[in-house]
């Protein structure tokens, strides 16, 4: 029994043949690829749409049919020895018309799922028709929670396997995205421009150049190679309006791309105050505006397969909504400008060598305006600001914090050995990422009020991350092993906060050098054509951030002696991909995981401020399961459930030999049990001949969890259990490139919070219109 048993030479074989036609017209389709999954067998349709695949091992096999501009199909058929099995297909024009991208995305998604890593892949087909932001879409992936403080544009963070915040790495096209503070978020990326989202749980591929404690999100955006138009308009409850337009046109030897995205929301939903029982208020200072402009040109004429130059401009403005207090004036803003030059060449030297290189320059600005002379209670009664100005704290602010960022990223992939079924035995990847960041904060208003410098503490940071991985496939598709090494080097220079530092002599400037390394091993074994076994282990590191090292110039003091956090992660699981009984196709997986985390960096609080320190230890164990099934030609269903148990592993109170009262207790403020489910029906040709209709109902559940350590039966500070149900429908006319989708979320208007004391919107409705065209296909 081994992964390649299905293609053994001594097996009995049969033949598959049929015709491929276009569903709406019945016309034969030429050049359609028909392949047998996992066997390296296939054929192409001729001018009459006929195809044949020979020497197919007897038994159940999965046929995959794909063509540019059409929705890919799969079907499970039974092959009988020495006979021809008939299998004909009607292909629909791709409903989301991402053309070749969709087909390639599906293929890549499957390759990723079959990689040794524990990874969930969200595909464009799952995302494009939804009236969701990207954050929310990722939050629906198995094993992932998105935790938000409010509506569109609000602060959010992901929880994966018990890790949150900066411990979960976020990448955009393989580039770490958290390098310029708040100026760039995943929500800034229009969901229509996302080809796929890779959610790595546990071991993160070394080719992704970043640091973290395990788990990562990598968003891969579409790169249309031909003429392409995509316009989407979304409107929804609470003043949500989103316009997204992308046009790609070939102009001579280059391809030009323009993307414009505008988001607005009032976020004026009604909330029940968590601070005053019985107080129900409509939020009235939570407006959000964002504009994204992207310009790009690309060519294949400069000695590389592809050379691209992209410019992005993102601007946001947010009113700040109070929950405890009635904030009416404070606002934040940010501006982001980036220039990206990248070149890639794939398949050189007989398909053995890939080279990718990119340079990015980013300028970002972010600020807070908080200068009101009065504050308000919920009765709209005004009272003077405690220090004369400002609604949020003790110091008014009109800040402009500037960040200048430079990155160079180079990746080289080399394949060695003899290819077997088109797969090389050895693949080595070397990725190097070099970053330089200059941070220049400024807040003259705060400085003037404080009578001293409380904000203008500059910082510089240079870092290099080198990832080396070796993928070994000793038995073709049967076994894959990936060994990864990561090295980190960082030099950071900053000005420690002295504003409230009680230590008499604080250095005017501090410099920190850090070196760290991580290692990982991931193995995948194909037990049968449908069953994969995966296992992985990793020593992961997260380097301290500039703020952790040097403070925020105000209440967070410098801690230049911080060490990296480290985590030892182990993961193992089973994965099924194939038919089950009468169910056409089932993807299912169950994964167990365990982590031991040391030197967690926590902010230690003092009388009037604090400093970060390496103090925490934790053990995290958990199991997650997910299943997705094509129950029939038109019905599919999916569900996921995650249980993660993070426990305090600090045996003694910090700095003492005194037993810690929280040792062994569940770490607070972390979701521990959650899941989701979706049932979806999709029909072609109903109600109109050239149309496609999709409806779905989805549910989401999260168990109650405690905000603080659970030590009392009377404990009241809890994030409540949440169960929500949503409905959606999408109707598309593929030949016209039009689609309209409507969604209703939180139908029961359940009270939802996933961050303490931050109520989220109740029932909401969303409508999305989309026009997509791929002219070259017409």
């Amino acid at each position: 029994m081994c992964g390649s048993a299905g293609v053994g030479a001594a097996q009995e074989v049969g033949r598959i043949a049929g015709v491929v036609v276009e569903a709406s017209s019945g016309q034969p389709l030429v050049g359609v690829n028909v392949s047998v999954r996992d066997m390296g067998l296939g054929g192409t349709s001729d001018s009459e749409g006929r195809y044949a695949v020979h020497h197919v091992p007897a038994g159940l096999v999965v046929l995959e049919v794909s063509a540019i501009g059409y929705a890919a199909r799969t079907r499970t058929v039974r092959v009988v020895a020495d006979r021809t099995t008939e299998a004909s297909f009607e292909l629909e024009v791709a409903p989301v018309s991402l053309g070749q991208l969709t087909v390639e995305g599906r293929t890549t998604a499957r390759e990723l799922r079959e990689s040794p890593f524990a990874v969930t892949v969200l595909e464009a087909r799952d995302l494009a028709g939804r009236a969701l932001t990207l954050d929310d879409a990722i939050g629906r992936a198995a094993g992932v929670r998105i935790r938000r403080s409010g509506g569109l544009g609000s602060a959010s963070f992901f929880n994966i396997r018990g890790f949150e915040g900066q411990r979960v790495q976020v990448f955009i096209n393989g580039n770490a995205a958290d390098v310029v503070g708040d100026a760039l978020t995943l929500d800034d990326i229009p969901i229509q421009l996302v080809e796929r989202v890779e959610v790595y749980k546990g071991v993160v591929p070394a080719r992704l150049g970043g640091d973290g404690l395990g788990s990562a999100i990598n968003v891969v955006t579409v790169e249309p190679e031909d003429g392409y138009v995509d316009v989407g308009l979304t409107t929804g409850s609470f003043g949500q309006q989103q316009l997204s337009a992308t046009i790609v046109r070939p102009i001579g030897p280059v391809s030009a791309e323009v993307t414009i995205n505008v988001d607005r929301a009032r976020n004026d939903y009604v909330m029940e105050s968590p601070y005053e029982p019985g107080l129900v208020v409509r939020r009235d200072h939570d407006g959000f505006e964002r504009s994204v402009i992207g310009l790009g040109i690309g060519t294949s004429q400069l000695g590389f397969d592809e050379v691209e130059l992209e410019v992005a401009l993102i601007d946001t403005g947010s009113e700040i909504q109070g929950v405890q207090a009635n904030v009416q004036h404070a606002e934040s803003w940010s501006g982001f400008r980036s220039l990206l030059l990248q070149a890639s060449s794939e398949g050189a030297r007989d398909g053995r060598l890939d080279i990718r290189s990119a340079i990015a320059i980013v300028g970002a600005r972010a600020g807070l305006v908080d200068t009101s002379t009065v504050r308000y209670d919920w009765g709209r009664n005004a009272f003077p600001s405690p220090v004369g100005r400002g609604e949020l704290g003790y110091i008014p602010s009109d800040s402009e914090n500037r960040t200048l960022f430079f990155r160079q990223r180079n990746a080289l992939t080399y394949r060695a050995g003899d290819p077997r079924d088109g797969i090389f035995e050895h693949t080595v990847n070397l990725t190097g990422v070099f970053d330089v960041t200059r941070f220049r904060p400024s807040d003259p208003t705060a400085n003037e009020y404080a009578g001293r410098n409380v904000s203008d503490f500059p910082g510089d940071l240079a870092s290099a991350v080198v990832g080396l991985s070796h993928e070994w496939r000793p038995r073709g598709e049967g076994v894959v092993a990936v060994t990864g090494l990561r090295g980190y080097a960082m030099r950071s220079r900053g000005t420690p906060s002295t504003f409230l530092n009680p230590v008499v002599e604080a250095p005017p400037e501090a410099e920190t050098d850090l070196l760290a390394a991580g290692i990982s091993e991931a193995i995948r074994v194909r037990i049968t054509p449908q069953v994969l076994v995966k296992g992985s282990a990793e020593l992961a590191r997260r380097l301290p951030t500039s703020e952790e090292l040097f403070g925020d110039g105000l209440f967070v003091f410098a801690a230049p002696t911080l060490r990296p956090e480290d985590s030892f992660n182990v993961s193992g699981g089973l994965q099924w991909d194939g038919p089950v009984g009468d169910v056409l196709h089932v993807e299912a997986g169950v994964t167990g995981f365990w982590s031991s985390v040391r030197d967690l960096i926590r902010l230690g609080g003092g009388v009037a401020g604090g400093a970060f320190t390496n103090v925490g230890r934790a053990r995290i164990a958990g199991i997650e399961a997910d299943v997705r099934a094509d129950v029939s030609d038109w019905i599919s269903a999916g569900a996921s459930l995650t249980w993660q148990d993070a426990r305090d592993a600090l045996r003694f109170e910090p700095g003492t030999r005194s037993p810690s009262p929280t040792y062994g207790l569940r770490l607070p403020n972390i979701p521990w049990l959650f899941g989701s489910a979706i049932l979806e029906a999709s029909r072609v040709g109903r109600p109109g001949r050239d149309s496609r209709t999709r409806v779905f109902v989805e549910a989401d559940y999260s168990a109650e969890f405690f905000y603080a350590f659970e030590v009392s039966r009377r404990q009241s500070r809890r994030i409540p259990e949440v169960f929500t149900v949503g409905l959606g429908a999408e109707h598309s006319w593929p030949r016209l490139g039009l689609s309209v989708s409507a969604e209703a979320r939180n139908l029961a208007n359940a009270r939802v919070l996933n961050v303490l004391n931050n109520p989220l919107p109740g029932r909401s409705f969303h409508l999305k219109l989309r026009y997509t065209a791929v002219p070259s296909l017409r």
Partner: protein, 411 residues
């Protein structure tokens, strides 16, 4: 993905200045029996960042001799750094910067705390200190709103409001828009309500000098502001014990000098003589001038304190020389139990280990002074014997979290 906003972080951290749950009894000069009884104990249990944990409080029959561990299994939970005020069998909890609720608990016949009423302070008003004028009248200072609420603690209903915003401008000339005098600690003495005004200029920084506003308790009418330039930042917010009356009827005010962050400002004690209407020009116990045998030789202000009579005051005083560099607020033990002699203006270091920044609980129990400390030997209640002069190096009672308030409840 967006991290917590900087202003929110600032707001949260700003609240750390006003740490922990103090409690005040009625009359510090009355001897307490050393027998077991019903105590009020509050602890702060941090999580992974300051102010993200919770405070817990409970009534418990403490036996200081049995060396047991006090669990929080039956404790009430509230916001971090909530303030508590004890009178007789009642406890009033205010939620500091993190909540608007003002809640009264009282002992039931079974010796357990039960909720006896609540009201909401105006949102974002900073409900800090509570002082009783009588069984049916109490005052609540609204630090951020520049107001004082008058309420009936029996029914927990607000009966009146005192506006202090005319008192803010004069003391903060640098910020002419500042009309809030930032009221905090209060004391009721001889029919007068004394309100310490911080006159905050910016985070943790206050104007030079000390202002105390005086009101008539019978009419709630404003009478005057008593000022003195020698000491700054009057009253340790949340700790009514920082404004106390001695056996002679003299009112003492502890100034914390902007937590020691403003060079030149002086911490210590001023005095208003019994019957006087101004600070005693002949008395200022200047803590910034005190030299000790402690590392660095200097002290700044008290985290928790209690006047014990006969001119003796006990508390945990901050010792800057015990900070590591950079400060490590988790492991540093820099609040040292000491005794002051208010008459001779001297400081004596007690043989009790120092605690970290959350260590503010102080109580008088007969001859003992109880200290709530997170010391190297563990978190719990430590004791100093005023007769023998001996202190405990180990906690008499271990606690879940740092005991930030200890007080005897009357059944």
């Amino acid at each position: 993905m967006k991290p917590m906003s900087a202003p929110l972080k600032r707001l949260i951290l700003a609240a750390a200045a006003l740490v922990t749950l103090p409690a005040c009894g009625d009359d510090p000069t009355t001897p307490e029996p050393t027998e077991p009884g019903t105590f009020f104990v509050a602890t702060y249990l941090p999580t992974d960042a300051p102010l993200t944990g919770s405070s817990f409080f409970q009534s418990t029959d403490l036996d200081l001799e049995d060396g047991s561990t006090l669990s929080n299994a039956d404790a009430f939970e509230t916001t971090p750094f909530a303030y508590t005020y004890v009178r007789g069998n009642s406890v009033i909890v205010t939620q500091h910067n993190f909540g608007n609720q003002v809640i009264r608990y009282e002992l039931d016949s079974g010796g357990r705390l039960v909720e006896a009423g609540r009201f909401s302070a105006p949102s974002g008003s900073g409900p800090y200190n509570v002082v009783w004028a009588s069984d049916t009248k109490a005052y609540l200072s609204l630090h951020f709103a520049g107001r004082i609420l008058v309420f009936d603690p029996q029914t927990m209903t607000v009966t009146d409001e005192i506006d202090l915003t005319t008192l803010g401008i004069a003391r903060n000339p640098d910020n002419p828009d500042d009309r809030n005098p930032d009221p905090g600690v209060m004391a009721v003495h001889q029919g007068k309500l004394y309100v310490a005004l911080w006159q905050v200029t910016t985070s943790f920084f206050t104007a030079e000098g000390s202002d105390v506003a005086v009101f008539d308790v019978a009419t709630d009418e404003f009478e005057r502001v008593i000022s003195d330039p020698r000491m700054s930042t009057p009253g340790r917010i949340g700790y009514n014990e920082s404004m106390f009356v001695d056996e002679s009827g003299d009112l003492y005010v502890h100034g914390i000098a902007s937590f020691g962050f403003v060079p030149g400002q002086r911490s210590g004690f001023l005095r208003i003589r019994n019957g006087a209407s101004e600070f005693d020009p002949n008395y200022f116990f200047d803590l910034t001038e005190v030299t000790t045998t402690l590392p660095g030789g200097r002290v700044t202000y008290f985290a928790g304190l209690r006047y014990a009579g006969n001119g003796e005051l006990y508390g945990q005083i901050e010792v800057p020389g015990l900070f590591s560099s950079p400060p490590d607020y988790v492991r540093d033990r820099n609040y040292q139990p000491v005794r002051l002699n208010m008459a001779t203006r001297t400081l004596e270091v007690l043989p009790v280990p120092p605690g970290n920044g959350y260590s503010a609980g102080v109580a008088l129990e007969g001859n003992r002074v109880l200290f709530g400390l997170a010391a190297e030997a563990g978190s719990g209640i430590y004791a100093y014997d005023r007769v023998s002069g001996e202190g405990s190096s180990q906690p008499l009672i271990r606690t879940t979290g740092v005991p930030s308030s200890i007080a005897r409840l009357e059944s």
